[in-house]
């Protein structure tokens, strides 16, 4: 019944820098089920971002299989990958990466416009999503007029825009102060609980990870430890 949204087998990624080879991921296996809220932890340089990039179709694996929503994406060409990013993945970045020349609503709408949604539908859904992340009334503000926490909320709304099967958040709280960090983690936990969003979050922060239901550790290119979080959301 709870089938995997993401299934990774034997994933290897090797970077070649001149003569030097770096292999942050080697023969990594991972499965994420629909509705899971998973944290990936690990020291700097352990390959967390590399893993998210591969899952998010931002990069291609050297070897192995990545199955998203029953589709093996490992060997797909860029022309297909961009559609998967658009329709199945929602990205949340450490430094928000909102487009500075678009206001909050337009940033959210852009994701839907790229997916070819109609204008009226887009506009309404963008408003709704901004309301969901607590930004009603701030639709017209450009990123530079929003606080960092607010910017990350816009980014979350944007990630949700096309109803992705998987939300990938790479240190989403890394640039935030304690209060905002708390807010954002709560928001993500809420989305997971109330809307059943499947979220994969990379973090250094134990406190952030504590909000998730499953904690993975990445070391030497593999997932070495797996802790199941409590079923109930910690306060």
């Amino acid at each position: 019944m709870n089938e995997p949204v993401l299934k990774i087998e034997n994933l290897t990624k090797t970077f070649t820098l001149g003569k030097r080879k770096i292999q942050p991921l080697s023969n990594l296996d991972l499965e994420v089920k629909r509705g899971e809220f998973t944290a990936i932890m690990g020291p700097s340089g352990s390959g967390k971002t590399t893993l998210l990039n591969l899952i998010g179709c931002m990069d291609k694996p050297t070897d192995g299989r990545i199955v998203i929503d029953n589709m093996d994406i490992a060997r797909l060409p860029e022309s297909q990958l961009c559609k998967i990013r658009r329709d199945k993945i929602g990205f949340i970045f450490q430094n928000f990466n909102l487009l500075p020349y678009l206001n909050a609503r337009e940033n959210v709408e852009l994701a839907m416009e790229l997916a070819g949604k109609f204008k009226e539908q887009r506009k309404q859904r963008a408003k709704d999503l901004l309301a969901t992340v607590g930004l009603s009334g701030r639709e017209q503000h450009r990123p530079q007029h929003l606080s960092q926490g607010e910017q990350q909320r816009v980014a979350i709304a944007r990630a949700l825009a096309n109803d992705p099967v998987l939300i990938l958040a790479d240190e989403p709280t890394g640039n935030l102060d304690a209060a905002n960090k708390q807010e954002i983690v709560k928001l993500l936990a809420d989305l997971n609980q109330k809307q059943g969003a499947t979220i994969l979050i990379v973090t250094h922060d134990e406190k952030v990870a504590a909000h998730t239901r499953r904690m993975l550790f990445l070391k030497d290119g593999k997932i070495i430890d797996e802790k199941q979080g409590s079923k109930s959301s910690p306060s």
Partner: protein
Amino acid sequence: MGILTRASRNIARRKARALLLIVVLSLALAVITSLPPNIIANQQGNQGLIDQMLGAIQSSSERLNLTATQIDCNLGLQFLHNQGPYKNVTMMVTPFLNISDYANLTSIPEIADVIPMLLYWQPDEENFYFNFTYNGYTYRGFMYIWGIPLEASYLEKFPSVIPTTDTWTFSTKENITAGRNLEAGDRGVVVLQEFIANYFNASVGDTVNILGQNFTVVGIQGTGRYPQYFDIYMNLEDAQKITNTTGQASKLLVFADKVENVDTVENKIKEQYPERLEVTTNKAIINQALENKAEWEKNLQNTQAAVDNLKNTAIMEMGLVVVAQVAIMLFVMLYAVRERTREIGTLKAMGASNSTILGQFMLEGIILSLIAGIIGVVIGTVGASAIGNLLIPRPTDVGFEISVGGQDVAILAMTMPEFILAGLGIAVALGALGSLYPAWRAAKIRPAEAMRHE
């Protein structure tokens, strides 16, 4: 926020840079739009000069054709002293010859035609003198009576036998200012030099009495300046009749059958009539005409070279400006792509396809270029002649006033919508060309790399 909104907002985001780029590009496009009208105007402006030169070459050639085979035969000049009212003046006349004495000329095979001509005047007869006023002064002049054989066969072959200017044998210019020239078969009619017409108070259609005989005036010959001769032209037979010179002529115009035979004919005539006949070929005239022709051909070449040079300079400058424009666009857009690598990564993360990215960057280049194009077309149209004067050097070594720039250019640039449309078209094309590579680079950026970019 469609692709157009994104492109234009991105431009608006970096106002100073966009403005600077637009200023530079619009100047470049002003040059590109203003040089073609300059090229066209220069060519049109100098076409008149070229046509004039072609005309001069043409008439030199015609003159060559008409007079090259002509050989004058007369009895030589005689000097008359102390005769008539001008007793203290020495005058020159050619004695009359009997045409029948030279009937044998036609037996020389290289001779095509022999045409007798009569030039009659009497220095000791008062009625060959008349008074005329020129520039407020009164002068005294002699009338000359020309008898010309008005036979169709001569006139067809040698139109120059109708003398209508002071250097009658050499000229084909008609200078008939009223009425017509003499024609084949004309009898009892005259063409009067204008001073003589004034003296007789006669205009076309009037009757004048010359040496006791009435003639109808069919044409007036103008000189446009102080004349050397005062001529009355009529049929040879009429002239012979009124001057009692029937069967006589002042000279015989001998025509060789071709230019190469002129020397042969000259020698044969001299052999046949060694005693008195003075033979003059048109060698000097031929040489002069050849020289003139060569001179005009050289002028024409220089002029055409100068005009071509203007055009080539303009085209080269346009080429340079086009290259510069594309290069500027290329570097600015490449810089923009580098600078916005993360943005490109973000767009890709959101699912933008490579062609969307390509389109957005190209569109930015095209919009910038089009704005510059609109401004450039305005500057280029209004300032066409100024830009032309600035960029197209006035040639100095032609020896002629070559037309460069000026009013024509401005009018041409303003009144031809083609220039405006072409200017805008070029702006769009160069914008697309200049941003193509940067946009392609942007599209090809690998998303993971883009996100690592600082």
